[in-house]
């Protein structure tokens, strides 16, 4: 019984990692590649660690595998966010078929200020920005 659970978890984890690798190879630009690699890669590593925990059936091994899973779960989105942000600001070209890039018009890459695009319009609730101090970036 344990063998079956371990086998299923290992195969599922390896399949997710293979999907992540195929995605990173085939997809056209940086955000889509990150979309494939981050989520599916973290999921694959977590499945394999679950398989390890079920194979050994030991409390210490379970604690270690759980620590790895929690660590991957916390750090993988942070790393993806930081790389994606850096890639966007360094001017990575998006795919030709990209439909919408809402950040491009409303974000000032120099001051890192995000505007809603509705400042000063009648629907605006907040008053338009008067003067920005460089501290509150």
């Amino acid at each position: 019984m344990t063998d079956i659970i371990v086998s299923i978890l290992l195969i599922a984890g390896a399949a997710f990692m293979l999907l992540a690798a195929i995605g990173i190879l085939r997809l056209p630009d940086l955000p889509t590649r990150m979309h494939a690699s981050t989520k599916a890669g973290a999921m694959g590593a977590m499945f394999i660690m679950g398989g390890v925990a079920f194979f050994f059936l030991d409390s210490i091994v379970f604690a270690r595998a759980f620590a790895i899973v929690v660590f991957i779960l916390i750090t993988s989105p942070i790393a993806a966010h930081v790389i994606g942000r850096a890639g966007y600001f360094t001017g990575t070209t998006l795919w030709d078929g990209t439909v919408k890039d809402e950040l491009r018009e409303n974000y000032d890459a120099e001051t890192h200020k995000l505007s809603s695009g509705y400042e000063g319009s009648p629907e605006s609730v907040t008053p338009p920005p008067e003067s920005e101090s460089p501290e509150d970036r």
Binding site: V6, I22, F55, T90
Partner: protein, 90 residues
């Protein structure tokens, strides 16, 4: 059953490693390479886990923890380097 499954999983992970390595060498910009490098580290964590099952040495999981930690720090460092405007050599 387990040794057969482990062979299949080794094969699949090796294929994934190959694909990520192709993107690492070909990737048009530096962020692409960083993403591929992060995926390689993630695959290696899986590899270490499968190897721990294969050999029955549970201490190998510590190696997986260290690899995950260094991969995270490398990603953060590369992103800082990119955003501060380091030398780009795509």
């Amino acid at each position: 059953m387990i040794p057969f499954v482990i062979n299949i999983v080794y094969f699949m992970l090796s294929l994934a490693l190959l694909f990520a390595f192709i993107r690492l060498t070909r990737g048009p910009s530096l962020p692409d390479r960083v993403v591929a490098l992060e995926l390689v580290a993630s695959i290696v964590v899986g590899y270490v886990g499968v190897h721990a099952i294969d050999t029955g040495v549970s201490s190998l999981l510590d190696v997986a923890i260290v690899i995950a930690l260094t991969a995270f720090l490398a990603a953060i460092g590369f992103a800082r380097f990119l955003e501060r405007g380091g030398r780009r050599n795509d």
